[in-house]
């Protein structure tokens, strides 16, 4: 009797483990199919021909395994196979777009909403993107305020959009001396991303190439010079500066001494998402006069008077707000600027 009970218990446990392992294997298989779809999409975006061997090579899968994955894609009518070349069906393109959108929206949420460091979000998004549904994605999109770009600077496609590639070129090809705006920072490999971020390069930042040779180039970010290898520079995509800064000399709000007044010129483009909205909603819009009132211990935060309200900002936030010193502006223009 006891023996029977123990045996059946063991069998039950074994069955449960087997079912669990099977489900896990099936999930892994589905995720690999998704990854293959994403890879085909990104190859197409970069004007490469997606072939089975190429996709398999990048994914690091054995030919046998890769054939199983492609078989799964064919079974679901997501791709067509012509010789070795892969092309999307309509449903396959939809799925790929969904995954891309999910990945970028999730990264956006993690960085702008949850404040996670940029070099950590990629792997989390890779895991979560397979599970999120279209409805959840739409909700997330609305919650984030329909962002146009993810924190890497990649465009976030709309639910029904077609895939387009952005018109930017790698930093390695940028001409010397011409200021450029960073639009994209490649997130793989993570070590490279960390190196790039450590130099202060992130989407929205303005940088200038000051010198280059065959192997490396020298760049200027804000006031500091950095050197980076050409391979690293391949992962940083830049384009013409969207707006030339006017003749006005700007300084960060954090440099404003207590008692001084400045006029807000802009909020830095490195400040995005929820944080940017928050600052704007508080009335820190361009043209507003702002006075540093008092600071706290070590001036980690300063209270500013804006539109008759006291608002305390930490040093980091104040650094992202660009102002123009008004000590030279006479009182008449001060009252005028109230209306601007």
């Amino acid at each position: 009797m006891t023996t029977f009970a123990i045996c059946s218990l063991l069998v039950a446990v074994w069955l449960m483990l087997a079912v669990w392992a099977m489900q896990r294997g099936r999930r892994r298989y589905r995720e690999q199919q998704d990854d293959a779809l994403k890879l085909i999409a990104s190859l197409k975006l970069e004007n490469h021909v997606p072939t089975v061997s190429r996709v398999g090579g990048i994914m690091g899968q054995s030919p046998d395994r890769m054939m199983r994955i492609i078989d799964g894609l064919l079974e679901q009518h997501w791709v067509n196979l012509n010789d070795d070349r892969l092309s999307f069906t309509d449903t396959g393109r939809e799925r790929a777009l969904h995954l891309l959108r999910a990945h970028r929206l999730l990264e956006t949420q993690m960085v702008y909403d949850a404040g996670m460091p940029l070099d950590q979000v990629h792997q989390h998004a890779d895991r979560q993107e397979h599970r999120i549904t279209q409805e959840q994605l739409d909700q997330l999109n609305e919650h984030l305020g329909f962002p146009a770009y993810d924190p890497h600077g990649d465009p976030i496609p709309a639910a029904n959009a077609l895939l387009t590639s952005s018109h930017s070129i790698p930093l390695s090809q940028w001409e010397i001396g011409k200021p450029a705006t960073v639009v994209h920072v490649e997130d793989e490999p993570p070590a490279a991303l960390r190196k790039v971020l450590a130099m202060g390069i992130s989407p929205g930042q303005t940088i200038t190439v000051t010198d280059r040779d065959e192997k490396r180039l020298t760049i200027q970010v804000d006031e500091t010079q950095h050197t980076m290898s050409n391979t690293l520079a391949l992962g940083v995509r830049v384009r013409d500066m969207t707006e030339q800064p006017s003749v006005v000399v700007v300084q960060p709000l954090s440099t404003l001494e207590v008692g001084q007044t400045g006029r807000i010129v802009a909020i830095s483009s490195t400040c995005q998402g929820f944080q940017r909205r928050r600052l704007l909603d508080l009335g820190l819009t361009p043209g507003t006069l702002i006075t540093a009132q008092f600071g706290n211990l070590g001036r980690s935060a300063t209270a500013y008077k804006v539109r008759h309200t006291l608002i305390a900002l930490r040093q980091e936030q104040a650094r992202q707000i660009l102002i123009q010193d008004t000590s030279t502006i006479d009182t008449e223009s001060k009252t005028l600027s109230h209306v601007i």
Binding site: R278, Q293, N296, L297, A312, V339
Partner: protein
């Protein structure tokens, strides 16, 4: 014609495609336009008197001064604590008389009013309920369970918890309404920033002194989910009103055993409270620091804090919101969790197995761990059954001591929670062989143990995650056990 054939779906997809064409600056310009328009309206309609009072700027200078803003802050909070602890004595005694004590309000009346109550009126709710149970001939065990167990526990929680909360929360809301609380957050921000947390955590922490459950709810004001979680998890390190009585009682015991009691007792008790509160704040910053660099790693979020102008407080609204929204809300939740605790307390003391109450077996089982921690099985069991409400720790300890063999000769009735005077408490403690080390470890454990049932429930409601609720519950208790073992071992090695 064609417009009629457009479905809402078509409109939505059109909106989506238009949205793709909007560039980054659109939102900035939109908000800018709204503000420009609002400025034009106010400029046209609002006239400003320029002789406006500069007193609020002077007050700001004083209250947020990098040097003496801090002592002022500590002074104000010490004042709030003192008012809470001192002011709660009389109403607590009143409620205890009304609900629990033998002879009802007679003692309270003669002490504070000087009126000898007629014996006919001198019954407490506890006694009346027992009479009622006798009247309807209920079985003895049922009367004991309902009245000695559930009623007594709930009544105890109410009489200990309600008065301090009804004093602390209005004072807290008053500071909030005056506009002082945001200035505290501003003052303390450097410390919170260094520990990787949000400056507004200062507010939720201050709230936690009143009640951790209310403090956890207050964490909603922190936008960043990561920093909100840190604030929720560490709120428990703020000694709440419910734990004050325990700290004060042990402070008094230290005074009477080490210093012979007398005039020093009050001062020592007050110093004990301040020390424990201070250590709690330090621990909170330490845990903030560790959490924000390990499991909850991330960049610190925007710290934008409005410092509202100083206002004349709206007294009626303060009383309403603090009593209804905070005090009653927390009290109701506490009563809901105290009722099952009453059953547990009754069960360990009154259900016998082989002629011994089961509490005794559990205490014997817990004794080795208790010894290692410098405590005893009695205190550990009291903590386990006081999980729902920390207010009842001391009365439960007393009840459990009375269960122990050889303690039957006292005049106190075993098997239910009892309140005793400080000197009697000190005697009972010394009779157990408890010394200064026990008191120190007890105090450590008061600070570092799991949040009470109400707080755990609130944490679950706020985080919606079993994982983080478990972390917030277990982390402090593990820390507490480790700290107690460390203290006790060091103490024993040195002694």
């Amino acid at each position: 014609m064609s417009e009629q054939s457009l479905t809402p779906r078509d409109y939505l997809s059109q909106i989506d495609s238009l949205r793709q064409g909007i560039d980054d600056s659109f939102r900035d310009e939109l908000v800018g336009e709204i503000y420009t328009h609002a400025t034009m309206v106010t400029d046209a309609t609002v006239t400003e008197k320029d002789n406006g009072p500069a007193w609020d700027e002077k007050l700001d200078w004083l209250l947020t001064h990098p040097v003496w803003g801090w002592p002022l802050m500590i002074f104000i909070f010490a004042g709030v604590f003192w008012l809470t602890v001192a002011g709660a004595n009389v109403p607590s005694a009143f409620l205890a008389g009304l609900l629990i004590e033998e002879g009802g309000l007679r003692e309270w009346m003669s002490e504070y009013i000087g009126w000898a109550m007629p014996a006919a009126l001198s019954y407490s709710g506890y006694e009346l309920l027992h009479m009622l149970m006798d009247l309807i001939h209920s079985p003895e065990w049922l009367a004991s369970l309902l009245v000695d167990g559930i009623y007594l526990c709930v009544a105890w929680v109410v009489s200990v918890m309600l008065p301090p909360m009804a004093i602390f929360f209005p004072l807290f809301t008053l500071l909030e309404d005056l506009g002082y609380l945001p200035r505290i957050a501003f003052n303390m921000d450097p410390l919170f920033k260094k520990s990787g947390a949000h400056g507004k955590q200062a507010l939720t922490m201050a709230m936690g002194f009143g009640c951790n459950a209310a403090g956890v709810t207050a964490c909603r004001i922190i936008d960043s989910p990561r920093e909100k979680l840190i604030a929720i998890i560490t709120n428990n390190f703020m000694i709440c009103n419910g734990r004050f009585p325990t700290v004060i009682a042990i402070g008094a015991i230290i005074a009477s055993t080490q210093l012979g009691g007398g005039a020093w007792a009050g001062t020592v008790a007050a110093l004990t409270v301040i020390a424990v509160v201070g250590i709690g704040v330090v621990v909170m910053f330490g845990v903030n620091f560790v959490l924000s660099r390990s499991v909850l790693r991330g960049q610190s979020s925007t710290f934008t804090l409005e410092l509202p102008p100083y206002r004349k407080p709206a007294i009626l609204r303060i009383i309403y919101t603090s009593l209804i929204d905070r005090t009653m809300f927390v009290l109701a939740r506490a009563c809901v969790v105290a009722a099952p605790a009453g059953i547990a307390i009754w069960a360990v003391a009154n259900i016998n197995v082989a002629d011994q109450p089961i509490g005794l077996y559990i205490m014997q089982f817990l004794e080795p761990l208790g010894w290692l921690m410098g405590l005893s099985g009695v205190i550990l069991l009291a903590y386990i059954i006081a999980i729902p409400a920390n207010e009842i720790v001391v009365p439960t300890v007393v009840m459990l001591i009375l269960l122990l063999p050889g303690m039957g000769e006292t005049s106190l009735q075993a098997g239910r929670m009892v309140e005793v005077g400080n000197d009697q408490l000190a005697q009972m403690f010394t009779a157990q062989g408890w010394n200064l080390m026990t008191c120190v470890c007890f105090l450590t454990f008061v600070l570092l143990h799991n949040p009470c049932g109400t707080t755990i429930w609130t944490i679950w409601k706020e985080t919606n995650s079993w994982k983080w609720t478990a972390v917030a519950t277990l982390m402090p208790v593990v820390m507490g056990i480790a700290a107690c073992i460390l203290i006790a071992t060091t103490w024993r090695l040195l002694a």
